[in-house]
Amino acid sequence: MSTSDGRVLSTTRIVDNGSDRRRWNLALMGDGYTEAELGAYHTHCRDFVDHLLSTPPFDLMSGAINVFRIDVASRESGADEPAACGGSGARPRTFFDASFCGFGTQRLLVVKQETALRTARRQVPRNHVGMVIVNSTVYGGSGGGVAVFSVAEHAFEIGIHEMGHTFFKLADEYSTLAGCDSGETGHDTYGGGEPREVNATKEKNPARVKWRNVITPGTAIPTTRNADCRRCDPQPSPVPPGTVGLFEGSRYFHCGLFRPEFDCKMRTLGKPFCAVCRNEIIRQLNRFRA
């Protein structure tokens, strides 16, 4: 249940676009892989990198990116699955102590963040982002100083979404904190100032919206309004996918905050990043192309 339950073996640059002094450096770590399972870890890292670098706009920016794979062998395989959350009760001994049921929530897969950050900085001193891939086929993940995700189908999307927060400072675009069916209160209508993130706004005047320069010509502004601010807006998109406008419901509020497109990876995993998020990622990664 600690670093005595495994060891760091080596670090390998698996995407090499030049000096790590100049590039954006991603450090991948694995947890719950025994030494005999490191071949599977290598495959999982490769699959994740392929997924990342085929995700727009990272497909356009791959020359700015280095990826390092840190090989960590754990004593035992998998992650903790506490019975309290309906799990199997397994408690394998792993280096980063990966566990589902973080904060009593089944899908919240967490690791010892300090161990992960220290490992990343030691192995990849110039890292900009660290991630831990957990050897479990149960779907789950989490954010924080390092992103964590399992190898369940589609779980790689968690890592990319979290990267949107930790490095690119993108806002969540979903319009609820606890879930649309939770009956939550306090998230009806946003009453604060203008959000700092590029992909959320309270502004309804099209001339002052942050993303006014990329609004699709002829699109109504606002594009959608939520008719009942006590709950999430159930209406389908009135415009084709990819239309940039002003859609109500974002950043944990049913009303009062707007997002640039009807859907986005910062709202729904598996969807593309919206144009505003893509542009911001490109803008920030441009620093690393020199």
Binding site: D16, R22, E194, F288, A290
Partner: protein
């Protein structure tokens, strides 16, 4: 003496790691490396030294990190939104949501230029929203109180590839 690099150029960077528990952050390590800094997330002027500014809305920076000189004058300020999160994102196959964390504990890192006159670092709570996570409105650290981690700047890349000659 270090020079602050131009955008996109490698420069000497200090990586600071903070640990927070029960509302008390502490500086636990620092490391100096040469790398390209991410784009500066400049703290709005209203947030700098704004512990009592009452920027309580969710749109304001929750936390600001300042590098200060020997006289506690700010040299640089960076917004650190959500570094001490009071909720955590939960991913289910169906949807994304969040679960609240009333007693946050954890770690975070800050990357800043290696400014020659910097002697202190300060974490400044810039909005009331951080009140639940940080006991004091401001916590100041003398940078030299935390020993420099092994200076890794001159180490080769982990696999010895890709570094500049």
């Amino acid at each position: 003496m270090s020079e602050v690099g131009e955008g996109g150029q490698p420069e000497r960077v200090v990586r600071l790691m903070f640990r927070y528990r029960d509302g008390v952050p502490e500086l636990v390590s620092r490391q100096t490396v040469e790398m390209v800094l991410p784009e500066a997330d400049e703290a709005p002027a209203a947030d700098v030294g704004a512990a009592d500014a009452g920027a309580a809305d969710i749109g304001a920076a929750h936390l600001v990190f300042e590098l200060r000189d020997a006289h506690q004058r700010p040299l640089l300020a960076r917004a650190l939104d959500d570094r001490i999160p009071t909720s955590h994102e939960v991913f289910s196959p169906e949807a994304i949501g969040r679960v609240e964390d009333p007693q946050p504990s954890g770690v975070f890192e800050v990357l800043v230029p290696d400014l020659p006159d910097a002697e202190f670092g300060a974490l400044v709570a810039a909005g009331a929203s951080l009140g639940a996570a940080m006991d004091a409105s401001e916590v100041t650290f003398r940078l030299s109180d935390v020993p420099e981690d092994d200076d890794l700047d001159d180490e080769p890349g982990p696999d010895g590839e890709g570094d500049e000659p």
